[in-house]
Subunit: 149 residues, 2 copies
Amino acid sequence: MNEQDAGMRVVHLLRAITMELDRVGERFAARHALHPTDVRALICLLDAVRTGAPATPGVLGAHLGLNSAGTTAVIDRLERLGHVRRERDTRDRRRVLLKVDESAVALGWSFFGPLINEVVAVMSRFDAADQATVERFLSGVHEAVTSRE
Amino acid sequence: MNEQDAGMRVVHLLRAITMELDRVGERFAARHALHPTDVRALICLLDAVRTGAPATPGVLGAHLGLNSAGTTAVIDRLERLGHVRRERDTRDRRRVLLKVDESAVALGWSFFGPLINEVVAVMSRFDAADQATVERFLSGVHEAVTSRE
DNA sequence: ACAAGAATCTCGCTGAGCGAGATATTGCCA
DNA sequence: TGGCAATATCTCGCTCAGCGAGATTCTTGT
């Protein structure tokens, strides 16, 4: 049980959690007549709302790894469902600003709420110092994985 | 900074890591002329090899959430690339056993190797007790997320 | 034997996402 | 100021992953 083994086991755990969260997202998508990509788009848009960053098709498409045609299609679907609406930017009239509807925020919470509750429940089994350890570890993994080519 | 907040931050970290690992998988897929689904299939097949469980189209399709037609298509693609081959089960001749080729195992390692290294590197910044804490936490999350409807 | 059921495959179709190019707008620079 | 390259978004036509329905092959209980 050396540290190499622990790394291995943790990788497998992270992978298993990742796959399971993907499945949760897919089930959520199916239950709300959304595609997995639409869920990812919704999450991205809600992040933009949280951080106050302006959401545009260009930013969204870059985040999702779609080209402009695919991005237009995603936004069309979300707009048809009433989750976002397009508004021309008055400053730069080439750009379109994506306004997120209240229904999308509610939808987001119905997705994340239960997950947050479960993770809070698991966290509550640890004392403050261990919670901090977990957070530092996940931050480290996040940075490591984000800064890959 | 109460425990609710910590849970929230950890959920966001897990989500961010999940999304980033998805992107890693997608980049890996693109670089090897695979579809994201094919990568998931490959991982599932390698798991079967590791655990010694027999891999069949039925099991694979169930894991991937595909119907039988889609499953056949995935296996066709992997077989065309030489990563698996079909073999009739001699015991139950309705079944097909999926034999994983050496090239697929190598491919799997080229995917997981770097990830394992990075996680091991992050883990090495923690002492044994904290590593155990991380592992316990991830196990808890895994269980919680797995046992959802 | 034969019917019911199980595992896999075939066929035709829908639709997500791509490449290429059209359109509208801005900003740089002579 | 006028023209041109760059930027943001959208349209069109196509490919192919995955679906539903049903065909095929084999097993098992009676």
